[in-house]
């Protein structure tokens, strides 16, 4: 037995963000019955402080990077990037939730506790280098997300969303676990570095078996990132869930799931890349096409953003299909840009939707620019970035992804992807036209005045989107340096 591994301070420091999140999440959960106060001011502020502390801890842990707990976790640039990303998404989820929860009269500590637990799971996923730890992180993140999706429990749609998400999500996790079991049976290890060594080594297992494991894990992970053909749950869940939760689901769990997707497929399954590349290729094309064309037909904004998020998952799949370090870096950059713009767009929807989330249709955005020009301007930034207009993060995200795809000779995928982006411009622009060139309707007129927290919830992602669009080098350099995953 190793000598008292719990006292190993290096391990604990590398695991500090998750420790902070779990401890504070538990504390916030227990505080509710202790204080007997139902105000998100207390719990939300505490959660924000927790997330900031966790970000600092994640950055501090990176100053002494390396594996922890016998290689089960690994703190590298890649892990730190995704840790900070999911923690940042958490902050951007809580900021608009203050006014939202108050409006829906649903201020509880559970909302914040569950959010912190879910983020803890995603943070574990970001740093995990071991299939079982990845699985545990995935479950921590997912189970809390299922509950969050049904958070407004008197709302039928939220209930439907939670049940669908739970049933389909558990099913997908099962697929992932079957893949893990196969890998363990074939290689005798669940550590990704060891699995990679065995698969490339002289005693490599049958490629068919490794391929089968890769296919099973592909099903589970494609579900979690809502990539076709496993995207069917996404529109119903994003539409039914409370809007701040939809924002969270479309960014946090998705980024973390892509983190493990990249890590598993670019380390353990990298040697059989030629076998899974067609799968990813097809999934990327299907996701982009289904997402964009279905989004054209939507009248509900949340549903439209859900289909758009399927399409964006498709763009990231293009980066994975390029199977190169340039592709990994492009995917990282894209996910950061996507998180900023998508969470921001959802925040505006949550602001406008009103009590009981009545106003969700595209017509309800009519005349927003006249009534609340600041909100309309911020949403414009997010929408332009989602389209991929230059000077926004979305532009460079797409640019780097398709550049990586071209370098890997995926000419057709690039052409079809670019055509898809052109289609996508239509439904984002429709919303812009609605905001700026129509007379204000009931929704825009009855929108509440801005609170400081909500303004921050718009300004922060807008700054993020613009910084990524004007100084993309800052993030891309880091992503490029962190993109070599095989240790």
């Amino acid at each position: 037995m190793p000598a008292s591994p719990i006292f190993n301070p290096t391990d604990l420091i590398r695991f500090l963000p998750e420790i902070i999140l779990t401890a504070m999440g538990t504390l916030i959960m227990v505080l509710d019955p202790l204080l007997n106060r139902r105000e998100s001011k207390v719990y939300g502020t505490l959660s924000l402080a927790t997330l900031l502390a966790a970000i600092l801890a994640a950055i501090y842990a990176y100053s002494d990077a390396g594996p922890a707990f016998g290689g089960m976790l690994i703190v590298d640039g890649f892990a730190t990037f995704f840790r900070v990303l999911v923690l940042g998404v958490g902050i951007l989820t809580i900021l608009p939730s203050f006014s939202f929860l108050k409006r829906q009269q649903a201020e509880t500590s559970e909302f914040h506790a569950l959010l912190l637990f879910s983020i803890a799971g995603q943070s574990i996923m970001a740093a995990a280098n071991d299939l079982i730890i990845i699985f545990i992180g995935l479950e921590i993140s997912s189970i809390a997300s299922y509950i969050l999706a049904g958070y407004l429990r008197d709302d039928k749609r939220a209930n439907e969303a939670a049940l669908k998400y739970f049933l389909l999500g558990s099913f997908a996790t099962g697929f992932f676990l079957y893949g893990v079991a196969l890998i363990y049976g074939e290689t005798g290890s669940i550590n990704l570095s060891v699995v990679h060594a065995v698969v490339t080594g002289p005693d490599a297992p049958l490629p068919v078996m490794v391929g089968l494991a890769a296919a099973l894990m592909f099903v589970g992970l494609a579900f979690k990132v809502s990539a076709s053909p496993f995207q069917i749950w996404a529109p119903d869940v994003y539409q039914g869930a409370p809007t701040p939760v939809s924002a969270f689901l479309s960014a946090g769990p998705k980024a973390a799931a892509f983190a493990i997707f990249l890590r598993i497929f670019m380390t353990a399954f990298a040697p059989i890349g030629h076998a899974w590349a067609p799968l990813v290729w097809a999934s990327a094309l299907l996701s982009m096409t289904i997402g964009n064309f279905a989004a054209l037909l939507q009248t509900n904004v949340k549903r439209m953003l859900a289909y758009s998020s399927i399409a964006h998952a498709g763009y990231v799949m293009v980066a994975l299909a390029s199977r190169s370090e340039v592709g990994i870096a492009a995917a990282m950059f894209y996910l950061a840009a996507y998180a900023c713009m998508n969470v921001g767009a959802f925040a505006v929807v949550s602001h406008l939707s009103g009590k009981g989330e009545r106003y969700q249709s595209i017509e309800d955005f009519a005349g927003l620019a006249q009534k609340q020009p600041f909100v309309a301007a911020m949403l414009s930034i997010f929408l332009l970035s989602l389209i991929g207009v230059p000077l926004t993060g979305g532009f460079f995200g797409k640019f780097y992804i398709f550049k990586a795809a071209l370098e890997s000779h995926l000419v057709w995928l690039t052409v079809l992807g670019l055509l898809n982006s052109a289609v996508a411009a239509y439904y984002y622009l429709r919303l812009l036209v609605m905001m700026y060139f129509r007379d204000p309707g009931e929704a825009a007129s009855s929108a509440e005045p801005l609170t400081p927290a909500f303004s921050a919830a718009l300004i922060l992602p807008a700054i993020g989107t613009l910084v990524l669009g004007i100084f993309p080098g800052w993030v891309l350099d880091f992503a490029g340096r962190s993109a070599s995953l095989v240790k």
């Binding site: 006292f7 227990v30 019955p33």
Partner: protein
């Protein structure tokens, strides 16, 4: 000693086939040889000789499910404590702290459900009053 992957599993295949054949055979034999009586009394569900009354599909109070779920959670905690208690002396301080890490969050959860009134059994409990 059989070496190849498939050969190792041959006995399992034989056993599976035998088991299926036995089950199918017994059912067929009893179908062919057995006498069949069909009347109302014979078709009634077997309730240890009692005459069944009412419908089996009652509505249960949701409290039962809540308590059942909570029971499973804390039951599992108790099961983890047993092996720990056996090797407690060998693990020394390490085992103690590891167990604290496990037990304290569960105690926090226990405190939470208690204060929330999930363990209150009577109809006018806190849980119902909050509704």
């Amino acid at each position: 000693m059989p070496e190849s992957y498939a050969e190792q599993y041959f006995p399992v295949l034989v056993q599976a086939l035998l088991a299926m054949a036995l089950a199918a055979g017994l059912l067929t034999v009893s179908y062919l040889l057995g006498k069949r009586v069909r009347n109302r009394v014979k078709d009634m569900p077997y309730e240890s000789g009692m005459v069944p009354t009412g419908d089996a599909r009652h509505r249960f109070s949701v409290k039962f499910y809540l308590v059942a779920m909570l029971f499973i959670l804390f039951d599992i905690e108790a099961i983890f404590l047993y092996p720990w208690a056996v090797v407690y002396r060998e693990l020394k301080m390490f085992g103690f702290i590891e167990m604290l890490v496990f037990v304290v969050p569960i105690l926090a959860g226990f405190f939470y459900i208690w204060k929330k009134g999930a363990l209150d059994w009577s109809p006018d409990s806190t849980l119902n009053r909050k509704r």
